[in-house]
Amino acid sequence: MTLDLPLAFAVLMGAAILAYVVLDGYDLGVGMLMPAATDDEQDVMVASIGPFWDANETWLVLGVGILLIAFPAAHGYILGALYLPVAAMLTGLMLRGVAFELRVKAQGWHAELWNWLFWFGSFLASFAQGYMLGRYVTAFQPGWGYFFFALLVGAALCGGYVLLGATWLVLRTEGELQRKAVAWTRWGLLWVALGVALVSLATPLASEIVRDKWFDFPRTLGLMLLPLATLAAWLWVWATLGKSEWKPFAGAVAIFVLAFTGLAYSVFPYVVLGWLTIWEAAAHPSALKVVLAGALAVLPFLVGYTVFAYRVFRGKARAGLYGH
């Protein structure tokens, strides 16, 4: 039996993107929640994500890198079609990345400006990612309806990231800020419920391929486990909120993993919906083999020291940590 290299890379790419969405999702969400907190609380919030955000964003480079390396034809096509939202997202990530450092190092109104840019960058990057997802699942079709659909997905993803960020704060902070984070989580949950419901209904309407995959009895009955499990995770977050510190975050991650699984099912085996499959877009096997060997050798270490970093920084976040 020979290994299906394009399939292996599709799985790796999916794993990298999922890791990115969950990991950078919580820190983007914390960034979007900044205006709702006091100055002192903002410092604790930034301290809670400070040691991780660099590594979190690296997963985006890995995901896009696999797209570039393993499916070069799709990389050019997808990113060409998403040119402006990609530019918006990168601008947001850049502003935010330097604002991490500059909001504590700049003086007076400069510090205020970078604080604001930190929020704005987080929001812009999150919204642009959701917008791109909306364009992607509708195969980049032109028209106002598709445009508004993509805006809707943009808003929904912001809600999702806020949920991840708020539950992260429940886990990593204490006292008044933690109580606030509990309230933010409830708002995030409502926002996500609305968003996921609308997107789940709209995606099959917007894309024929997706519709055919989901509404194909009797397979549909088995597939219904996915939305049911998502609902269960949602209820679990709601029920455990205020009683447990880690369960809401775990539940929020579960919602993302389930939604992502549904998305992956919708799209597979296409890399560009309805136009390019992963096998059609794949690079030469010789290149894929070399990269796979490297990836398999490195991944255990990567997971190992990611766990190490999270262990070192376990426990509650404190302000001032970011002053180094």
């Binding site: 400070g50 696999i66 050019g76 500059l102």
Partner: protein, 433 residues
């Protein structure tokens, strides 16, 4: 619109991004090693002054690194958006090299960076020094893979055709291609020099404000001494790199020296205004036969001119002037590093401090100039002899390219200003325990 405008816009945008990006790794590679040094010094001596020095420079490093990460993410997207033809044609070689960069280096840096920046009170001294060393090794490995790919684009070897696709026949040949050892060493020395002038320059700035700051005097001396050792090495390696280029990319050398016609006993042009359309130099100041002597070690040897490569030779004026800017800045750095090392044994006169403060970012100018020489000097090829730049450009509409170019330029301008202002401010406050 015509194809030329789209090509120019795509190049301008990619060039802007990569030029902005290269500023920060150039500094952070060297700074990472400086930090390992400061950290080990503190661990050995337990002197709080070293701890304060480490703390100051780790802040500067963190900001530099963050700038590098965010502009680097942009690069990974623009490969596909601006140059889809690049990945189509040589993706089977470029892809794995980029993948190895991300896998081995980027994660190493980004993950251990957290422990290095925030973990000093949370892990043992040994683990903390280990983390700092991993970050330094990671930044250096990043450069290794990126320069392997960049060098391969200049002097490709080891590739074979399989069906319609270009693939690697021998990876060792691809990685250790003819220009790689020279380019990698040249770039590492450039980083060492740029970082040393940053350390010396910001320390001098601090001493101008607080002459009694002993820690700043120590780091000023350290930066100056390291620069004094690296600068002459760079002259030597730069010359070897030039001879390697003459062997593999003679058209680039002809453009650097503005030699239009092949001939014997060719003069060395010190200064001129190259006239691209007429194919000659105006207002030239030349030294007879010196180009033949320098390039071939024989005053009467034949040197190939640009006419030997027409029409596939790079534009002359930008390569010619950028080369002189790089060499000029390099010589200035060498002179200041040597003079500074000598004078600083006795004391630190204010004029010298002003000179170092003024040269804080001199490494950037030399690095950017050198980068322009080598990358414009490769034109019209993207991968020498294999892929033309014009054939790799994408079909992104000009309006989108123009709008995003303006947006990036604005954001980069703000970021660069904020970076320089913040560094100056941090250094002005000095090291605090």
């Amino acid at each position: 619109m015509d194809a030329g405008d789209a090509l120019l816009l795509a190049r301008a945008q990619f060039g802007l991004n990569i030029a902005f990006h290269i500023l920060f790794p150039t500094l952070s590679i060297a700074l990472a090693w400086y930090l390992v040094w400061f950290r080990v010094k503190y661990a050995r001596s337990r002197d709080p002054a070293w701890l304060a020095t480490y703390r100051l420079w780790v802040k500067i490093f963190a900001l530099t690194f963050a700038m590098g990460v965010v502009s680097g993410i942009t690069m990974s997207f623009q490969f596909g958006t601006n140059w889809p033809g690049y990945m189509e044609k040589v993706g089977n070689i470029a892809g794995p090299l980029l993948a190895y960069e991300v896998l081995t280096a980027f994660f190493l840096e980004a993950t251990f960076l957290g422990v290095m920046l925030f973990g000093m009170e949370r892990v043992s001294t040994r683990v903390h020094i280990f983390s700092a060393a991993m970050v330094a090794i990671g930044t250096t490995l990043s450069a290794f893979w990126i320069l392997a790919l960049n060098s391969w684009m200049h002097t490709p070897q080891g590739q074979v055709m399989d069906g319609g696709a270009l693939i690697a026949g021998d990876w060792l040949q691809v990685i250790f291609n003819p220009s790689f050892p020279y380019r990698f060493t040249h770039m590492m020395l450039a980083s060492g020099l740029s970082g040393s002038f940053l350390v010396a320059g910001l320390s001098a700035w601090r001493l101008l404000k607080a002459p009694q700051d002993a820690g700043a005097l120590t780091t000023l001396r350290a930066g100056t001494l390291v620069a004094a050792v690296l600068a002459p090495l760079q002259v030597l390696v730069g010359d070897l790199h030039g001879l390697n280029t003459l062997e593999h990319q003679p058209a680039k050398i002809a453009a650097i020296e503005a030699i239009w016609k092949t001939g014997k006993g060719v003069p060395l042009v010190l200064f001129a205004i190259p006239d691209e359309t007429a194919g000659r130099n105006d207002y030239a100041i030349e030294v007879p036969k010196l180009a033949s002597l320098v390039l071939k070690h024989d005053a009467n040897a034949e040197v190939q001119g640009l006419d030997a490569f027409a029409p596939d030779h790079p534009p002359v004026a930008p390569v010619f002037f950028a080369f002189r800017a790089m060499v000029g800045m390099g010589m200035l750095m060498l002179a200041l590093a040597w003079a500074g090392s000598w004078i600083l044994r006795k004391g630190a006169p204010r004029w010298l401090l002003w000179a170092f403060a003024g040269m804080t970012f001199s490494g950037w100018i030399a690095t950017l100039a050198g980068w322009l020489v080598t990358e414009i000097g490769r034109q019209p090829w993207l991968v020498t002899g294999i892929l033309r730049t014009a054939d790799a450009v994408g079909r992104v509409p000009e309006a989108a390219l123009g709008a995003s170019l303006a947006g990036y330029a604005l954001v980069y301008g703000v970021m660069l200003l904020a970076y320089v202002v913040t560094l100056t401010h941090l250094a002005g406050e000095g090291a605090k325990a």
